[in-house]
């Protein structure tokens, strides 16, 4: 007798529903074991991680703040990935958006520029992000260059460009030579939604992006085109859909969203441009996109959930002295189980008697 993984003829609907629940249950079980081994009370720790942050307004706000850039970027990435276009460089588009928007903020600093500043910053960030994303997209459709590599490489170009600006031309003159711009003027700052809190306008924009993407994918011809191009390129050609155009459009849209997320982060929670404005949002968003199964609403949930683990992890450090590494292990375990359980939607276990002939077909 032998256990093999066999591809299902059809996706199992039951497995699709049960899979996330199994993944969460398995994660909780593994975490409990780990926490018990560390000498912590698993039930109390899991409450600190998952329940406490959801029970007060402050933590809820912080979850939304943390999730905002992740969701915004991931929605754009999902469009790309559905069209079979692999944008790995959202981090770079995020940074370039931040730079382009900050340019307006820095240039209008100390002047009596009016309320047009913030909208102009948002618009220029989106445009810059889109243009930056079009570089690998054009390389792909014109020259067949791997967009995975080129978009990833451009992340480092963007990082160093930002670094140059804040250490050189845009450095705060009163900042003792430290690499940061001066704090942005109020008209160049993303407004907060609750007085004294940190929840800002960006959260609303992220929700709008989710809604727009859901409508686009579910209700429009363009959305259908994107999905067909990704799933069946040949069929797409027969239907008159141009795969190259789909790549260009999805890259541009995801670049625009990443750029927008970048300026919102800089002009919102941070308040000035500096190196290290992103703790890897562009890369974490790839995980969020897949955790959400490339579905806009799924991405919203996945982004909020991942944000919850960050906030809960901090509170666990404070309340129960649980090291940060445990939180990271925990995020890793979660991803592992989610992906493992997802494979059960497409595959199933089967016991077979030993026979090398059958094994070959299992892929």
């Amino acid at each position: 007798m032998q256990l093999v993984l066999e591809k299902r003829a059809e996706q199992s609907t039951a497995a699709a529903l049960v899979s996330p629940l199994v993944a969460i249950a398995a994660t909780l079980a593994t975490m409990s074991l780990l926490l018990a081994l560390l000498g912590k009370n698993p039930a109390a720790a899991l409450i600190v991680y998952f329940v406490d942050p959801l029970t007060d307004g402050y933590s809820l706000q912080e979850i939304a703040v943390k999730a905002t850039p992740l969701v915004m970027i991931a929605v754009g990435l999902a469009l790309c990935y559905l069209a079979n276009a692999w944008n790995i460089g959202a981090e770079g588009q995020f940074l370039i958006g931040a730079v382009a928007g900050s340019w307006i903020a820095v240039k209008t600093q100390g002047t009596d520029a009016g309320h047009w500043v913030l909208p102009a910053m948002l618009a220029s960030a989106a445009i810059a992000g889109a243009l930056y994303a079009l570089i690998p997209a054009i390389g792909k459709v014109r020259f067949g260059a791997s967009e995975i590599l080129t978009s990833l490489m451009l992340v480092y170009v963007a990082e160093l460009f930002l670094d140059y600006l804040v250490r050189g031309p845009w450095r705060d003159p009163a900042g003792f030579n430290f690499p940061t711009t001066a704090e942005f003027d109020p008209v160049a700052t993303v407004p907060v939604l609750v007085e004294g809190g940190r929840l800002h306008l960006g959260a609303i924009l992220a929700l709008l992006a989710v809604a727009a993407a859901a409508v686009l994918l579910g209700r429009t011809l363009k959305g259908f085109e994107i999905r067909v191009v990704g799933a069946a390129p040949r069929a797409a050609r027969f239907a008159g859909f141009d795969p190259d155009r789909a790549i260009l459009v999805t890259f541009a849209v995801s670049g625009a969203l990443a750029g927008l997320a970048g300026i919102i982060e800089v002009a919102g929670p941070i308040g000035h441009l500096q190196p290290g404005i992103s703790p890897g949002y562009g890369f974490t968003a790839i995980i969020v996109a897949f955790l959400g199964r490339l579905n806009p609403v799924g991405i919203l949930i996945a982004g909020l959930f991942l944000a919850l683990t960050f906030i809960g992890g901090e509170q666990a450090q404070i309340a129960m002295k649980i090291p940060l590494d445990v939180t990271k292990v925990f995020q890793g375990i979660l991803l592992f189980y989610v992906l493992a359980c997802d494979s059960l939607i497409l595959y199933r276990f089967r016991f077979i008697s030993k026979s090398p002939g059958v094994l070959r077909g299992t892929g």
Partner: protein, 359 residues
Amino acid sequence: MRNGFLAAVAALLLASGVSGAASAADKLKVGFIYLGPIGDLGWTYQHELARQAVVKEFGDKIETTYLENVAEGPDAERAIEQLVRAGNKLIFTTSFGYMDPTLKVAKKYPNVHFEHATGYKRDKNMSTYSARWYQGRYIQGQIAARMSRAGVLGYIGSFPIPEVISGINATILGAQSINPNVKVKIIWANSWFDPPKEADAAKALIDQGADIIMQHTDSPAAMQIAAERGKLAFGQDSEMIKFGPQSQLTSILDTWAPYYISRVKAELDGSWKEQDTWGGLETKMFEMAPYTNMPDDVKKMAEETQAAITAGKLHPFKCPVVAQDGTTVECKGGDHLDDGQILGMNFYVKGVDDKVPGK
């Protein structure tokens, strides 16, 4: 719908604020924000040692909490605020990049006291503290000049900020006081902690003829390379002798414990006030590791220099200080440069064979 949501959030905020106040404990809660993981050496580790010293000193009277690996970006403000909301009344934020986030949280919670390391923005409830490491670098410069056969020192810089620039200048001035012809080669790692890059920098410097390696980065990688190649080196932040038993000349040790203990004490007896502390050898804000791998006369010289600096008889930036371009720097501090000139230092002194990046 949206208004309803906002109202709910606001109500929750109010409710949590009230309950937070009610559950304040009798013990003084002291919080720490760390830049890196604690590990077993380096910048964050030295702050952790000081925290442990605070715990040992005050025992049951206080309770400490730390958050480690807090990036100096958008997450910092939240991490600091989380400590406030957990009831910490005195919070140490231990890296430069926490300056603006600390200030924001300080403005929001006027009854909590903040201590920010190495920054320059202060408020009624926010102090700053740092150490005059340049004093130690002057001593290292003298030792290096005595120990180098080639007369070429290799220097691994982190970021070209004033603290690092003034460290390079103090090193050169110390070295020139022994041997006016000493040369310094600089490689910028553009990181505080990047072992492979630091190791590469050390290798490149040795290949360029340097026989003494000095660093303003955090890892022992350069020390290990020096040990491998049979060269001498200085540690940084922590004791690194175990990585180069035959190589380490000395190391600048961050010793925050006396300061942290004094500030917690002030908080406990109600005398805490906003202040700017920039301490040196005289207040044990940092210390020098034992002088090793050098002849007795060099060791004696180092100890004498250290004693002179500690006693205030010798200032590393004593006038005249001549800048790289040959101009004499204005002497604002009587017979030495004043603190403002050192804190904002953005020029090399004569003898540095490099250009200040971004200038």
